[in-house]
Subunit: 234 residues, 2 copies
Amino acid sequence: MKQTPKLQCLQDLRRRILATEIAPGSDLDETVLSEAYGVSRTPLREVLQRLAGEGYVELSENRGAKVASMDLGTLRTFFQTAPLVYSNVARLAAENRSPEQLDELKKVQARFAAAVSANNGGEMALRNHRFHELIGEMAGNAYLTPSLNRLLIDHTRLGQVFYRPASVAETLAVRRASEQHDAMIAALEAGESGLMVELTLDHWTLSRDRMERFVRPDPLPIDVIQLSEKRNAV
Amino acid sequence: MKQTPKLQCLQDLRRRILATEIAPGSDLDETVLSEAYGVSRTPLREVLQRLAGEGYVELSENRGAKVASMDLGTLRTFFQTAPLVYSNVARLAAENRSPEQLDELKKVQARFAAAVSANNGGEMALRNHRFHELIGEMAGNAYLTPSLNRLLIDHTRLGQVFYRPASVAETLAVRRASEQHDAMIAALEAGESGLMVELTLDHWTLSRDRMERFVRPDPLPIDVIQLSEKRNAV
DNA sequence: TGTATGCATCTTGCATACAAATGAATTGCG
DNA sequence: CGCAATTCATTTGTATGCAAGATGCATACA
């Protein structure tokens, strides 16, 4: 596998978009990027076209590329669609996975677990992304895969916000997610599609609840003085 | 809407692939195509990249583009996935369609009906394609749309085989399909998502049965002499 | 006769130069 | 002073020429 600068550019842009290192909605300047990656504008444009096809960026005529945005409509659609696609892909993956794919999945999960131990948020998000991308590959369904991958892009980008475990509860949730990954590997290996679907929905619920709690946290105390008096009154 | 040669090239290639005018698996020569459409190779390559993103063609490194193939695995996956995506898109379309979209859908259906009357198979297939593509747009789900459109590409290409009503039964089936379109428009207009899903599944069943009957026709008579004797024995 | 290797040809990939389009600032006019 | 039109700078789109890789054939050898 030779590392042509074009391929590196493609992969690096994907990574940076997933990591929200480049923010959703940002404009991408062809000249700047082509100089940064040491390729001419022609291959760079091809990279952008490809990223557009994968759902990472959006192109508009005569106005260049920008990173796919995540507005409210997108979010609503995301929460509406994810369980449907995830669960169906899960079932197919359990039915069609190859031993080689399972091996790779285990490797990725090991790296994910390592990132969890190291408490490295960005790394966790990217390994998790690859984990679920691989399950998509296992499903071997050329029609569902593009949907899944688009969902995963936004899922990972959303995750960048909360895959930075500040509180103890968050840390526990991440560990739980990692355990679910292990269980999913076992289900895939055994070809138990029903169990795999169940685990996948649990996994989704965990992730969704964390997002929800991030978006809608416990409200701040309304009357600070009263609270402070209460404390002093002990 | 200006008709730049590049856009025309894109649309014409889409049409020709859907019409199986260019067969699945065919190699596409950049030089030949660029000369044919009067554009240089650079924009032509961008067109191919885009078509690859949409699922019309497949690109491979240093070996150019070829029309997306339709092997047995693809077909199996197609029949497995279509009802899931179609029905879910149908539900969303009934919930989200705009009046403008409904107007356009009616126009397309009028043209489809006209093609049915004229017994113009190719035209029927393309109008039908656009009809269902529009329902996808109505759904307004950026995650499911790519799946739907990929399914539709293969559905239309499969249809090219049997959208040429040879027998009376086929002609009736096409009329029936057209009536179902009308019913779907009514359901969409009324926002009756449940009904829309039902109609969509009926529509799918009709189409699937026709494909099945084409692939697995009544077997030829095994013993011709015996049959002929039977007939004479009357 | 079957297989391997080197060469010729053709196709794809990339870079650069140029053309067209967009957006912003400036200038002219009401 | 405000609005509008025009010009200029920046950015995107296209063409062409050249380089690199792949395919097929011919020739030589086992």
